[in-house]
Amino acid sequence: MRTDRWYLLMILPALAFICFFIFYPLFQGGVMAFQNYNLFNLKDIRFIGLENFKSIFFNKNISFGLILFNTLKWTILSLVLQFLLGFLLAMMLRKPFKGRSVYCGFVFYPWALCGFAIGLIWSWLFNGQFGVINDLLMKVGIIKENIGWLSNPKISMYSVVISNVWYGVPYFGIMLLAALQSVPSELYEAATLDGCSGLQQLFHVTIPYIKPTIISTVLLRSMWIVNFPDLIYAMTNGGPVNSTHILGTMMINKVYKEFDYGQGSAYGVIIMVLLLSYAVIYLQLTKSKGEDTV
């Protein structure tokens, strides 16, 4: 009993730190979502029930359905492509070769950049008038006219997804490479003796062995992608015609452009509820197959 108290005392500073810097802002954000909290009029801060949520769900100027659809499109496309390319990268880097560490350094470089800077770089690359991408495609003869990568609402989402894929591939590359290097070579030797082809080895040895890493990285990365509006904000501002607005960009707009902390917090609460639900369902689904995942 005395030891328990001692333990409690020891974790108290850390607990207080977490409460102050994580739970309190979270709680305060939750409270603000139900308040009329606008920087334009701080004299009129009051509880307004679900009004902020109603304004978001029934906004005549930008439909919530579109924002949700864009968020899903942004997340799923980015996640799938990042994972597949990251996996491929990890497979290629698995076996040692001359200069591998230098090569790894270059490949993993995007992960070290901040989102807003990446957005600025890619917005210049994708610029329809002066951009390098159009110029290269034109010189190679693939296109005859400039493509409005960021100005055409039909393709703007794919353009921002490409930038996000460029950014996110190294994460999967690093994590999966570490997992791949932990697969015992004996397993491959045994599989080879059993007559397994390379593809069979991949699906029956490699993937099952690194599955826990795959599950946890996919969960984390999908959450980060939902919470990564910086790139979109720097490249398109959510446009053209709202075609790249996701929940995160709307939240930034509400707080930094419209100074409406109430509605901004309501967007935050919606994102949190969606991500929590997703995490619970995802973990249940992956656990039901008898794996101890995360």
């Binding site: 701080l42 501002n237 446009g239």
Partner: protein, 421 residues
Amino acid sequence: MKKTIALFLAVVLILSFAATGAFADDKVTLTFAETMTSPERTLVLEKAIETFENEHPNIKVELVSPPYESAETKVASMLAAGQEVDIVEIRDNTVGSWINNGFLYQLDELVKDWTGKDELIDAALLAGASMGDATYFIPQYLYVKALMVRTDILEKLGVTEMPTTTDEFLAVCKQITDASKGQYAFALRGIGSPCKTTDIMWATEVPNLRLDNFYLTEDGTFYMDTEGGRKALKDYYELFTECCPPDSVNWGYNDQINGFVSGITPFLVQDPDAVGSVSGSLSPDQYTAIPMPLGASGTRYLDYGYAGLAVAANSEHPAEAFEFIKYMISAEVNASICEFYGALPVNKGAYESSEMFELPVYKAWADEMADEHTVFTKFPLEDPRFTEYSSTVHLAAIQSYLLGQSSAEDMIKTCKDFWGY
């Protein structure tokens, strides 16, 4: 022994007083929060502060420089929390809310005997009085739109006469555009509150606009919902589809500047700070500015965007803070700060003390402001909905209209319904 103890206690007492500043001089410390932070600009401010402190040995100024992206919200939070701030930089789009929240000190008493007021240009006085009868801030520099022109490119393309009306402007734009050669005419503003450009360009087609809110005519009609408003929208659609790079629907400030500097789009509607952005790449004989073309109304409605200085409501040293503001507005300092940006100084003397503001391109702004057809009006900035309108509603509506996804009537209805006019 008692004497020794008494002496010891006396020494301790004196030392403790000294340590707590009881014997410190009467030096006043002012906290100055900037909101348009950039490392280079902070250096300019620090230099100005240093000179001020030398001239006023009893005042010390501490500069607070929050990161640009969140500076306004950060300073607003400081003011709301009653933190020690004496002087703040204000901007036209948020000053209304700061006054409304009681963040700013009413300067009328201090301004009353200030003779330096006479040194300010008219537009600065208008801006200073734009938030009601009371004075809460002193403008530091102004943004007024004009039509910037690449004279060298136009000459090469055979244009010698500068457009003076909106019809002439559209005609010249159509004349010089040759998309097959990558030559367009106009650097359209696609993102980042494009209404601040379009409204200025369109309003001139509509007569009798209100001077306190140029979204409304004097009889209360939403300005786009008029014959002139419809013509303006139609012309703008033609301008975009026939004379602008298609990609410009997503162009922000940097893209506009790039289009202008590269010569792809030799016409640009911008504030004078754009001169600061292009002057590094273009020589003064390659470009100039001309007054905004006149539309059917025969009136050029301009708004005076501004940034200024204000005293925080909870400042304990408003008189000293105002002393600092007066110093910042003085001709020489005002010129040096504005030179950094290229924005228009508010002090008449700044135009004479600075070589930069004697350039022909700045004379054009002066001519435009003095022109008899020019009328200063303003956006409904004091309405909290304006930020939502400019950054979301109008932005999506105009992109949709220009890309052919909706009609001019749809655009008018969206904007009109938003305001409820």
